[in-house]
């Protein structure tokens, strides 16, 4: 299906949200009617520590232009320590992506609590703007999946 209205660049953005804080934060953004771009699609995971670097690379492989991961604030993890592990993993992964020449800013981590609907919406705004300014992801995609 293609309902694209015009030819302007519409980024594909995958957001991994932990069930306990960030997914609830996104729900709050919704119930508070705090809009953000429809280009963001959320995948629910139990905890940010469930996010495997392979998921992020897979999203890029399949043509995602940006990937953002949201979890509970450090110290507030439902599972006590999950986001601490996630933080190290993502820091190293992002550093590696930067190192091999992927544009800075295609990936992001933000801690969003269940009460921070506004922050969720604001973060998504910023991220969509950033990705839009970076343009299409061409460095990490698999050409076979290209449109």
């Amino acid at each position: 299906m293609s309902i694209e209205k015009n030819e302007e660049f519409r980024p594909k953005i995958v957001a991994f949200c932990c069930n306990w804080c960030s997914y609830a934060g996104a729900d709050l953004a919704g119930s508070s009617r705090m809009s953000y771009s429809a280009d963001v699609k959320i995948i629910r995971v139990p905890c940010s520590c469930r996010v495997n670097p392979m998921f992020i690379l897979r999203a890029f492989e399949r043509g995602a232009d940006g990937v953002i991961m949201c979890g509970c604030h450090p110290g507030d993890c439902h599972y006590t320590s999950g986001n601490y592990y996630a933080r190290r993993r993502m820091t190293l992964l992002f550093s590696m992506l930067d190192y091999i020449g992927v544009e800075n800013g295609r990936t992001r981590v933000e801690w969003v609590s269940a009460a921070e609907g506004a922050k969720f919406s604001q973060t998504m705004h910023e991220f969509v703007d950033k990705i839009t300014s970076l343009g299409k992801n061409v460095r990490l995609e698999d050409l076979r999946c290209r449109n």
């Binding site: 698999d142 076979r144 999946c145």
Partner: protein
């Protein structure tokens, strides 16, 4: 016999590439491999051995066979087109040329591999004699003459000139196509013969040249298969695929699917390696459970099974790439020698 000055080779490559695809040894980040020619490619025909053999030209490491595209709840199958463009592979060596003959025995018999056959039909091979053979070479063991490659065109790089001799119709056609860059040279035969003698005399001095293949043929299957020596030989093997991927004759491939999401599922084939733990893994399991069995497979195939089915032709060509590249310094020569040593002791 024609010749062309080395300095004019770029013009020759330009001329060939204008009409058809051209593959030749190119240096990239310190390594020489066959690659498509381009103006800024760093062509290197002095390096004796490319890391990978040129078999990709006819049997690429991976190639799509067909694509399944979903249309609602129906599935359409779109086969991949066969090779239609002529191409030239320049700079193969005598051993590599024999490697292609081995592949022909596999892919050009019934059932014909149409993808391979199309490439063979459209490809012309220009082979170079080996100016300075190296200590890992043992082509002579398989009756290959490094001084006189049996390709569509044979060529010799001597001093500042390349000598050119068409050997087949395809070779003649290519020669005609580039005729205006070649000059006829009456004294060429003599120069080339001298070079051939020099090459052959070096080959005689190589440490592996006199390797004996005694005891290796299609008739020794069970005896060799069951030999306890394999229990020792495989042990250092890491089960990587280096030897098979640099080999000019290894022809095993796997067929896999890749789901592109929006562009359907591509079914492609890619080189497999008998060294890999999932080689010939099937739904019921694996019929070669241990590394020993997989390791044995490679050498038995080259030295016993293949000759058994192909009138005694071995599927090793003595290029020595595996000798150079095995991470733990295992190779077919050591295997042959180990059996010979054991034979001596018995």
């Amino acid at each position: 016999m024609y010749k062309i000055a080395k300095e004019n080779l770029t013009a020759l490559f330009q001329k060939i590439a204008a009409e058809q695809e051209l593959y030749l040894p190119v240096r990239n980040e310190g390594q020489v491999n066959f690659a498509a020619w381009s103006e800024d490619a760093q062509v290197d025909i002095d390096t004796l051995k490319t890391v990978k053999s040129p078999k990709d030209a006819f049997f690429p490491q991976s190639e799509t066979l067909y694509t399944c595209v979903r249309d609602g709840k129906k599935i359409n199958i779109e086969p991949e087109a066969l090779k239609e463009q002529d191409f030239v592979v320049f700079g193969m060596r005598a051993c590599d040329v024999r490697g292609v003959e081995v592949l022909d025995k596999v892919f050009l018999v019934d059932p014909l591999d149409t993808f391979y056959a199309a490439r063979r039909d459209h490809g012309t091979i220009v082979a170079l004699a080996c100016h300075e053979p190296e200590e890992t070479c043992f082509c002579k063991v398989f009756g290959i003459d490094a001084a006189e490659p049996a390709a569509d065109v044979a060529a010799w790089l001597i001093g500042e000139d390349l000598y050119w001799k068409a050997l087949t119709e395809k070779g003649e056609a290519l020669t005609n196509a580039v005729a205006d860059l070649l000059t006829e040279d009456a004294g060429a035969d003599e120069t080339v013969n001298k070079e051939k003698d020099a090459i052959r005399s070096i080959v005689e001095q190589l440490p592996y040249t006199h390797l004996s293949l005694e005891g290796w043929n299609g008739d020794v299957l069970m005896e060799k298969f069951e030999d306890p020596l394999w229990d020792e030989l495989y042990k250092p093997c890491l089960a990587c695929g280096t030897c098979t991927f640099v080999c000019p004759t290894c022809q095993c491939y796997d067929i896999k699917d890749y789901d592109t999401g929006k562009n359907g599922v591509q079914r492609y084939r890619c080189w497999d390696s008998c060294m890999y733990s999932d080689f010939t893994m099937m739904a019921h399991g694996n019929n070669r459970k241990s590394q020993k069995e997989r390791f044995r497979q490679r050498f038995m195939h080259k030295l016993v099974y293949f000759p058994a089915n192909n009138d005694g032709m071995y599927s090793c060509v003595g290029c020595g790439r595996c000798v150079e590249k095995c991470p733990e310094s295992l190779n077919i020569v050591k295997v042959i020698k180990a059996f010979a040593k054991q034979g001596g002791e018995k």
